[in-house]
């Protein structure tokens, strides 16, 4: 079994956290990788600066689905500034293949192997770039 398909990743894939619609959402944003056919929609409920709740719906490969599930766990309850920090951390992590100094990535660390698989990077990144888009849309409203 390839390293990437670790127990942690498969756990998020089989038992996704926060998957489903979000009644009363503030906004939802769809992200897609047309080349893979991955389509992930993030549903977000904000109160002022705070992301009170986040869920996801959609379809995709195990990597994009697990990454989405992890994202919702990490960002739930965070402020916009914290979310932006996490987006930057995630980018660095995917580029370098290891956690930025002093950062505990939690389950996300299971995606470390993806740095060596350029073709799959965009699967892991999809929910995170969708989140970035969501923040800029929310701030723009």
């Amino acid at each position: 079994m390839p390293e990437l398909y670790s127990e942690i990743l498969l756990d998020h894939y089989h038992l996704p956290r926060n998957k489903g619609e979000l009644p009363g959402e503030t906004l939802s944003v769809e992200g897609a990788n047309p080349l893979c056919g991955d389509e992930i929609t993030l549903h977000l409920k904000f109160e002022g600066d705070v992301l009170l709740n986040v869920t996801f719906t959609g379809k995709g490969c195990a990597i994009s689905l697990a990454s989405s599930s992890m994202l919702t766990e990490i960002l739930m309850g965070k402020t916009i500034t914290e979310i932006q920090e996490w987006i930057e951390r995630f980018k660095e992590f995917i580029r370098e293949g290891k956690a930025p100094d002093g950062v505990d990535l939690g389950d996300l660390a299971a995606l470390a192997g993806i740095a060596k698989l350029p073709v799959r990077v965009k699967c892991a990144t999809l929910p995170w770039s969708t989140m970035k888009e969501a923040i800029s849309r929310y701030k723009g409203t």
Binding site: M1, P2, Y5, L10, Y13, L35, C36, A62, C123
Partner: protein
């Protein structure tokens, strides 16, 4: 006669371990591996006989030119071309089709005429025609398919009327494995005065192709899918049609006389070979053609058909797995999906077992839409594959299902 096991020994890459496992290479429809004979031909030529062609009046200029022209003759014979003068070396199928679209399409297809294609075309045989249609104001028509991924002959023939300028279609589908009735389709098109281009990228590597008998006006294929190197391919064109066409790329080699403000064209095939060609690649593509001829294309065809048939049957037995394309008479490949599992995950997990398959849209997005899927997984076979590779494939697919199918 070389046994299949002896043939496998000719491919050094099969000794490479993938994730600690022996390589099971099932992605030849994307690109084939190379036997030592082809590699040695490339190196030997560069070590002993290399220079630019058609220019240098020196010994190496002569040897390179004669090897390059001998390569043209070998490849022309390999596909039984009526004459080697119509055999143009290009970078591959994609460039060959673009050449025809540009140099024939833009000049001879007129406003209000139609270009007939099929929904199973590789993007390489679709997008060039979309651009021609747009530029000249022609109509695109699509020959309908039946449920099983074969062309609907009765519906298709009705599309062919006097307004059709060109019929362009693939000999063998790189996704469905469908083998199209090329001879009959060409005949129908010629009856209404249309020209025909056949995309032979998946056919020439796997079956005997006789261009004299098929009577296509244009036929395109690539070296890298038939054991040869990348960067080389062929457009065969009927000489009288090629002569009437405008040049494609311009520059050195393709000219006869040049003045400051105009130029005249070289004779075919040189008129369509602007610049320094892929010389060593052409020479080793010919070595690939010789290698295949030595095995015998009938035998290569039988082998691929056998593996495809077996793969189709074995994969169809797996629960929740769909194999696409016709069950009988298929090219050397099997394209499939497993319910609820993304093809990229299938490919990634199979790779862990040393099994290389392709996953994605296979440069055929309209066909993916026709199938109602975003992507598919594809196992494709060639002369270095055996039945035991299918055993490994099936076993690896079972593992994938265990790991990824939700309970």
């Amino acid at each position: 006669m070389k046994s299949w096991e002896e043939i496998r020994q000719d491919f050094p890459i099969l000794n490479v371990k993938i994730n600690g496992k022996p390589l099971i290479y099932l992605d030849s429809a994307a690109s084939s591996q190379k036997p030592v004979q082809v590699l040695q031909s490339y190196c030997g030529f560069c070590e002993q006989r290399y220079a630019n062609v058609h220019r240098g009046i020196h010994t190496l200029g002569e040897s390179a030119t004669s090897d390059y022209e001998a390569a043209r003759e070998t490849v022309a014979k390999f596909v039984h071309a009526p004459t080697k003068d119509g055999l143009i070396f290009t970078r591959g199928t994609t460039e060959s089709i673009n050449l025809v679209a540009r140099s024939y399409g833009h000049k001879f297809i007129k406003h209000g005429q139609a270009i007939v294609l099929t929904p199973m075309e590789h993007h390489a045989n679709l997008i060039p025609w979309q651009l021609v249609a747009k530029a000249v104001g022609a109509e695109l028509r699509f020959w309908p398919m039946q449920e099983d991924g074969t062309l609907d002959f009765e519906k298709g023939r009705k599309l062919l009327d006097n307004s059709v300028a060109m019929l362009c279609f693939t000999h063998i589908s790189n996704v469905l494995g469908t083998v199209n009735p090329v001879r009959e389709m060409i005949e129908l098109a010629h009856q209404v005065g249309a020209k025909v281009l056949v995309d032979g990228a998946q056919a020439v590597p796997h079956m005997p192709v006789d261009l004299t008998e098929l009577d296509a006006d244009f036929y395109a294929f690539s070296g890298h899918k038939m054991l040869g190197p990348t960067g080389i391919g062929v457009l065969w064109g009927r000489p009288e049609v090629l002569n009437d066409m405008d040049p494609f790329l311009t520059g050195g080699e393709m000219i006869r006389e040049v003045w400051l403000d105009h130029a005249t064209w070289n004779e075919i095939p040189y008129k369509f070979e602007a610049g320094t060609p892929a010389i060593a690649e052409a020479v080793s593509m010919a070595a690939a053609a010789r290698y295949l001829t030595e095995i015998g294309m009938e035998r290569v065809h039988e082998h691929g058909r056998g593996l495809a048939k077996q793969a189709y049957a074995r994969l169809s037995e797996i629960e929740d797995l769909t194999v696409y394309g016709p069950s009988e008479e298929r090219g050397a490949l099997a394209t499939f999906n497993i319910e609820g599992i993304h093809p990229h995950d299938i490919a990634a997990i199979l790779d862990g077992d040393g099994v290389a398959i392709r996953a994605g849209h296979h440069c055929a997005q309209p066909l993916m839409r026709w199938l109602g899927v975003a992507a598919t997984a594809r196992a494709s076979f060639y002369i270095y594959n055996s039945e035991s590779d299918i055993d490994v494939l099936v076993e690896a697919i079972r593992t994938t299902k265990k790991v990824l199918q939700h309970a």
